[in-house]
């Protein structure tokens, strides 16, 4: 019960900000409101990650996996949008849980942008990848059982990632929602969306056993995640 209070409080703050934002301060500044909502909705996830008791081995293993997923964005730098990052985050979340999945998504976005360039998109990448990881952690059991479901999840998260970034671009550019521009952007970015989805499926297929197996083995070998 104690843990749930700040989450409700934050949701309340987010809702209050949205309402006051819409009706008073920024009448049609949806981009700003969306940005605030994205940042605020990450807060409870960050807090819940901070609150969980830390097993040092788990922390270090998580850090190593994040480093690998940042590097995987580099390895394929020559092929635009065809990246194994989302697949890595989903796999991390499946084997280390939803909190770790969220942290992996947010951290990968933040750190890789130190090399690729920070921008307003950093917050949204942190949000999207963090949520993809968090949800994958919640669905971990089912995703492990059925490969088909895992691949569908990977494809959908590619689409989600692309649609969300397009949405914010339109909101920011117009200061409001312009359906015509959104449709134009989504159709012109359809190739990118498709690349995201396909690359997620391909990399999930390839890496599921390589990375997942490695995590499983290390967990078993060193007793990670088992309270000592």
């Amino acid at each position: 019960m104690k843990k749930k209070i700040p989450i409700y409080l934050l949701i309340f703050i987010a809702a209050a900000l949205l309402v006051t934002g819409v009706f008073r301060f920024a009448k049609d500044n949806y981009a700003l409101i969306t940005l605030i909502m994205a940042v605020l909705s990450m807060l409870p996830l960050f807090l819940s990650f901070e609150k969980k008791k830390a097993d040092t081995k788990l922390l270090a293993v998580l850090a190593a996996l994040i480093a690998v997923s940042v590097l995987s964005r580099f390895i394929f730098f020559a092929v635009p949008f065809f990246k194994p990052v989302t697949a890595m985050i989903i796999i991390i979340a499946m084997y280390l849980g939803s909190d770790a999945g969220f942290a992996a998504g947010a951290a990968t976005a933040l750190i890789s942008n130190f090399y690729f360039g920070q921008g307003p998109w950093t917050a949204f990448q942190m949000f999207s990848w963090g949520l993809i990881g968090f949800a994958a952690g919640l669905l971990a059991k089912r995703l492990k059982k059925s490969t088909a479901l895992l691949l569908v999840y990977g494809a959908l998260s590619g689409v989600f990632f692309s649609l969300l970034s397009d949405l914010w671009s339109v909101l920011w550019y117009d200061g409001g929602f312009n359906l015509k521009r959104y449709i134009a952007l989504v159709t012109s970015a359809a190739g990118i969306t498709l690349t995201y989805a396909v690359s997620n499926v391909v990399f999930l297929l390839i890496m599921k056993n390589v990375v997942g197996g490695a995590i499983e083995r290390v967990k078993l070998k060193y007793g990670i995640g088992i309270d000592s």
Partner: protein, 292 residues
């Protein structure tokens, strides 16, 4: 080392976020132009003329594209210039395109300046108190990235020495996957060692302390004093006189009473503050060298 690099991280981050916030969310040509100009000059000082030129051309192209394309998507506005594909192409949309392009350009420019003089160690310093576990992980990741990179290089050399072929695409992919898998296993195993060592040294027994070079000095106090003064002046004008500039259906005017002019001027000076500080510092350096 630039002047901004040596400022306290909290001061410079608040400054950057403040300017980027105004540049990104206030649709007003005066604000956007001030931010764009200040950002461009600052970036030029930070990166040098040659590297800056590339960014400048990119931003210019962005603005031109935005101006040319916007009227195709938005037919709002009352002054029709020409009819294109049976749809009106209005002056107001064209101007809004320039405004939006300049806005995006200004934000990109300030983010580039931010990355030039705000390294990862400053983020870690600022967030290690609020999010200790997350920033600890970030710290470890920053150490692991070069380590794993180096290890991947070694693996690649070893495979080459073994005579593994990478001539066809299929061979290349199998080789990369083998190297990747091996790198994952290696980094996980070495991570466990790090974890054990952390535990042995008493991780979690007390709050972690961190070494940092940052002190809040006199120049930080002076800088933040001037910054907050200017920010309050501009915020006053924005709050009382309104900041929204109408583009549709007709262009609105910019209020020119004393308070508005004063607040626009304060914002303009605020955007130029980094450039002024850097130039002042350069001149001082040159003068001191002349005396030697």
């Amino acid at each position: 080392m630039s002047f901004f690099d040596s400022l306290h991280p909290a001061v410079s981050l608040i400054f950057f976020l403040g300017v980027i916030f105004c540049a990104a969310f206030f649709i007003n040509p005066v604000i956007t132009l001030s931010a764009l100009l200040g950002g461009l000059i600052f970036l030029c000082i930070l990166k040098g003329r040659r590297a800056f030129f590339k960014d400048f051309v990119f931003i210019l192209i962005l603005i031109l594209f935005s101006a040319a394309l916007n009227p195709l998507f938005s037919a709002e506005g009352s002054t029709v210039i020409l009819i294109l594909f049976g749809r009106p192409y209005t002056l107001e949309s064209l101007l809004y395109g320039i405004q939006a392009g300049a806005m995006i350009g200004a934000v990109l420019c300030w983010f580039k300046c931010l990355s030039e003089c705000f390294g990862s160690e400053k983020y870690l310093y600022l967030f290690s108190k609020a999010l200790p576990k997350f920033s600890l992980i970030l710290t470890i990741v920053f150490r692991y990235i070069p380590l794993i990179k180096e290890h991947i290089g070694k693996l690649r050399k070893a495979q080459k020495a073994l005579g593994v072929k990478d001539n066809s695409l299929k061979n290349k992919l199998t080789l990369s996957m083998r190297i990747f898998g091996s790198a994952v296993v290696y980094s996980l195993e070495s991570a466990v060692e790090t974890g054990n060592s952390m535990k042995a040294r008493g991780f979690g027994a007390a709050n972690r302390t961190s070494y940092s070079l940052f002190r809040f000095s006199l120049r930080d106090a002076v800088f933040s004093g001037v910054f907050f003064g200017l920010a309050i002046f501009s915020a006053m004008g924005f709050a009382f006189k309104g900041i929204e500039f109408e583009y549709y259906p007709n262009l609105g005017g910019i209020s020119a009473d004393t308070l508005s002019v004063f607040s626009y001027l304060s914002f303009f000076v605020l955007c130029l503050m980094p450039a002024i500080c850097e130039i002042k510092e350069n001149l001082k350096w040159r003068y001191l060298r002349l005396r030697v």
